[in-house]
Amino acid sequence: MNAPRRVELVCPAGTLPALKAAVDHGADCVYIGFRNETNARNFAGLNFDARAAADGLRHAHAHGAQVLLALNTYPQPAAFSRWTAALDLAADLGFDAVILADPGLMRYAAERHPGLRLHLSVQGSATTHEAINFYVRRFGVRRAVLPRVLSLAQVEHVVRNAECEIESFGFGSLCVMVEGRCALSSYTTGEGPNTVGVCSPAKAVRWETTPRGLEVRLNGVLLDRYADGEAAGYPTLCKGRFAVRDATNYAIEEPTSLNTLEILPQLVRMGIAAIKIEGRQRSPAYVATVTRVWRAAIDACTADSDRFTARAEWMRELAGVSEGRQTTLGAYHRPWK
């Protein structure tokens, strides 16, 4: 196991202004995607072409930050070359690492670009050290991003036994399902994270005011109905209200964000290499706020982890940019399960 010297802060960017916001507010690494289905935030108007990526790399490197490329969907058989072309381009442009999920693509990367640093994406669904070590031994993966399913003790066990660095999620929208193992969106709309890089795609969403309230449907499936004055967020399908027997509620998950600021000292002490912030689809202002708060928190925790407390103003700022304006420790906190 590699013992990292300090915890890296890994921040999202869907646009060049967001990348600059992350770098300028203290991100150690920024992760981005190309403008197609090769990454898990394949949203209209988002992501980078080669030129914007080159600009971003220049800005980040000039400020001592790294840029990682998310190539974390599963290549489709008829278009495998689209993913290998993206990988070749990443190597040419000088990305500091690529974040991959597909083993076939990983083998291609290891063979064609042996100098390119590989990270295992959260979409790879590797939840134990045995799974992670598969990618380490076969492809020389240097870091694995953990799905948001493990308790703190389980994360620690993985950190101790994995033969590479471990990155875990610190903040952002929360998948209640194991990343890489959820076909709910493709079942409902025909497009999902693994194959197209989307979840609950906007083009399938319909809002309608009815006598029963404001209704939101995903490809015709009613996800929720809001009474007057009820806040309505983006309709991610697992965060709708459904009926199970006699109860109608958030049967799967509430609209909420993950926030692990309170347990940062434990994560640091157990040897986590990096903390990841979710949100490539969010604005530069979101990226700036979250990066600034987490930079301050990680610096405070690095200086003295025993005295670290999650300051009220940090928590307030993070809650202000959270989905549903509420946060949870998610699976890190056992009762969430």
Binding site: A101, P103, H157, R181, Y187, D224
Partner: protein
């Protein structure tokens, strides 16, 4: 083409499992997958019980495969996995890359539907590590499968998820326990009361999903029975039937009749539709939303 019976995904009492597998011994299935894939807390059958049941089915002429759990979280999950991998008697179905990692040095295995094998290079990789059969992800389209099978590694068989509620997602959270307002660690095995899962409907009363502990399934029943000729043409070798609580034996019998030419695929599809616990779907195969149901092609 062979018929495989998938692992029982829902939670059944020990006596129910015993009666079910006693019946399976007499069914016209070639391959039977056994073991707990969904939740490590389910222990109606212990490992020794699975092995006993597996021996009984092997004695009845079935090819038995031990299925490994899909979502692995703890060291005790890994201990259970190592025990399955080292069983020394039956083929193992890997459902995560940790299982592949352990099986790669030990000879043949089945690459299960939860491994995310989406393309030919990944299929070639798992074949090189010892996979003798693979099950594509349930969301794979006919076109994608056809493109992969053009480059199918020699000696590797393809098994399609052909009938049953689709295992769509896994979570660390138990949705059945959540429904009963119980913590997962003290779930009181509330899923035992729902042998076909717990139905989830939209607020306008449309059945949508089925909660099965930490797994979420489709409410609709996936069916590729009418597509048997297409699948045969593509090179699919095995059809998987995923067990439901009732009438699975009749589904298998109709499927067998179709494979043996005693029923047309269309007639078998109609028979099986009447046995399904819910409306059926086949959207994934046709590159549409999974819950869609495309009409059978006229020439089938």
């Amino acid at each position: 083409m062979k018929i495989a019976l998938g692992p029982v995904l829902t939670h059944w009492p020990k006596a129910t499992l015993g009666a079910f597998y006693a019946g399976v011994a007499t069914w016209p299935v070639d391959i039977v997958y056994m073991g707990e894939v969904v939740c490590a807390r389910r222990h109606e059958y212990r490992f020794a019980d699975w092995l006993d049941a597996a021996e009984a089915l092997a004695a009845a002429g079935k090819d038995v495969v031990l299925s490994a759990q899909a979502l692995m979280e703890s060291e005790s999950d890994l201990k259970a996995l190592r025990r399955i991998v080292a069983n020394g008697r039956f083929l193992v179905e890997a459902n995560d890359m940790g299982a592949v990692h352990l099986l790669a040095e030990r000879g043949p295995f089945v690459a299960g539907p939860h491994l995310n094998v989406y393309n030919a290079p990944t299929l070639a990789l798992v074949a090189s590590l010892g996979a003798v059969r693979w099950v594509p992800p349930v969301e794979m389209t006919r076109a994608a499968l056809a493109a992969i099978l053009v480059e199918q590694p020699p000696g590797l068989a393809t098994e399609a998820f052909a009938w049953g509620r689709l295992p769509l997602a896994f979570s660390a959270r138990c949705f059945t326990a959540r429904h009963y307002d119980l913590p997962k660690d003290d779930c009181r095995f509330s899923c035992l009361a729902h042998p076909d899962g717990l139905a989830l409907a939209t607020r306008d009363g449309e059945p949508f999903l089925v909660l099965n502990g930490t797994q979420t399934q489709s409410h609709r029943v996936y069916t590729l029975v009418a597509q048997i000729p297409e699948m045969r043409q593509l090179g699919v070798d095995v059809l998987r039937v995923s067990p439901q609580f009732e009438r699975t034996g009749e589904v298998v019998a109709a499927l067998r009749a179709a494979l043996d030419g005693k029923l047309t695929p269309a007639a078998a599809a109609a028979t099986i539709a009447a046995l399904a616990p819910a409306p059926q779907c086949n959207g994934y195969w046709h590159d549409r939303p999974g819950l869609d149901h495309a009409a059978a092609p006229a020439a089938a």
